[in-house]
Symmetry: C2
Subunit: 251 residues, 2 copies
């Protein structure tokens, strides 16, 4: 990955003991990353950290200085182990308490009768945060400066990304092409390296796969410059033909 | 998570643009974490970083000082984008070149005739590293100090963990119990918080789920102290009964 002027970057901080313990398989990185690709934002780092206040504060304050956008997932629910909101308020030295707008949204969502103390906790966050609306289950996420706090439940997180689109200013959209071939990596390593040297600003990745008993390699070309991808693609296809290597898929 | 004297911790560094781009769903964190649980090692942080030499060097040198064990995944194959071995050699200020033992293993695996330059690259690593044997596909991983370098392909990685067992000195095994209930988090938040305050050295996590159209919560109790888990478990089951909340699963 080469730095270019147009590049806008991002990091994700996954807050959750359940990911670290191996109990839960994270799927949010893929969702957020694919959505960021569309917006022209390049995900450059992910961290998974435990539900410990100091870890959250330290990580947030380190990462938010390094990246244009930071997304956190997890820890904004109603239980004692949901400490993201209060920790982020501390990281920003901001007041933590009932957020008026969030309170009103949740009171309306549950109805006054059923708006229990547990549910009220979900209206507690840095009081000056802007909200990220939640079309699935009421409880909003929030934005402080360049930090976007989202829930951990994958379906809810996904439903909230749509409403965020206009708040993210991406660069050029990152495009990619994939060529899948019926060979092993060592057979194409040298030629691929040659092409990578020629196209310095294009990312060429090589990924072996084992599917249905077949061994193969996917060659992935990524760049925000369509012409460069196309040229690079042609060059790769050409050396594959010379080597008589079967192309089994393109997209 | 409270610090205890017996606790042995670890971090994982996933090296790979394909994870950051959303192209590939990581599954290695779950594999390594569950294996570490068995050994009494607690995974405390994960980082996903790109295939950029400086990122790898900086991250390795930061993380290896903070954690007892560090596992890296990815970037030790034969192609130009596999730069983990050389970057780690640089991080440790060690010579990078053909590793005698690795070279011999790979030459035997492929046979002299088929031991191409691409394949030979997989024998290049910090020359003084100890090897992690690979029962699936020949190419070994390696160990430098507290850093364990594994491949990114999930099935190969898994096959290599077995041989590592004796090299990891864990603490007490981390045990867990899970109670799944037919309710929403806000209904149990207060009681759970009360139990967590009573059992300060036990981790109690609360995770909502949406399965087959049913909403529920999994309560996960984790500790290396079996008695404390059992006592905590009883206390949670007791308040659930008082609240007339259905327990739909235990394990």
């Amino acid at each position: 990955m080469k730095k270019t002027k147009e590049k806008v970057n991002a990091a994700i901080i996954i807050i959750g003991n359940e990911i670290l313990s191996g109990r839960t398989q994270d799927v949010n990185v893929v969702s957020i990353s694919l959505w960021l690709n569309e917006l022209g934002v390049q995900l450059e780092e992910v961290r998974v950290i435990p539900d410990i206040e100091n870890s959250i504060i330290r990580t947030i304050n380190e990462v938010r200085k390094k990246f244009k956008y930071v997304f956190t997932t997890g820890g904004i629910g109603p239980t004692h182990d949901d400490i993201t909101s209060q920790s982020i308020a501390k990281a920003f030295n901001m007041k933590y308490g009932y957020h008026k707008e969030a309170y009103a949204i949740l009171e309306k969502y549950y109805g006054k009768e059923k708006f229990s103390p547990g549910r009220k906790k979900m209206a507690m966050m840095p009081t000056k945060a802007s909200l990220i609306l939640n079309p699935s289950s009421g409880a909003p996420g929030f934005i402080l400066d360049n930090v976007y706090c989202l829930p951990g439940v994958p379906s809810i997180l996904k439903s909230m990304l749509g409403g965020l689109k206009n708040k993210i200013k991406g660069g050029k959209k990152i495009l990619s092409k994939t060529i899948s071939v019926n060979t092993v990596e060592s057979e194409i390593a040298k030629s691929l390296e040659y092409v990578q040297r020629k196209f310095k600003t294009v990312d060429i990745g090589s990924y072996p796969f084992f599917r249905l008993g077949k061994i193969g390699v996917s060659i992935v070309i990524r760049s925000s410059d369509k012409k460069k991808i196309d040229d690079c693609y042609k060059e790769i296809v050409s050396f594959l033909k010379n080597k008589k290597i079967d192309i089994i898929g393109k997209r």
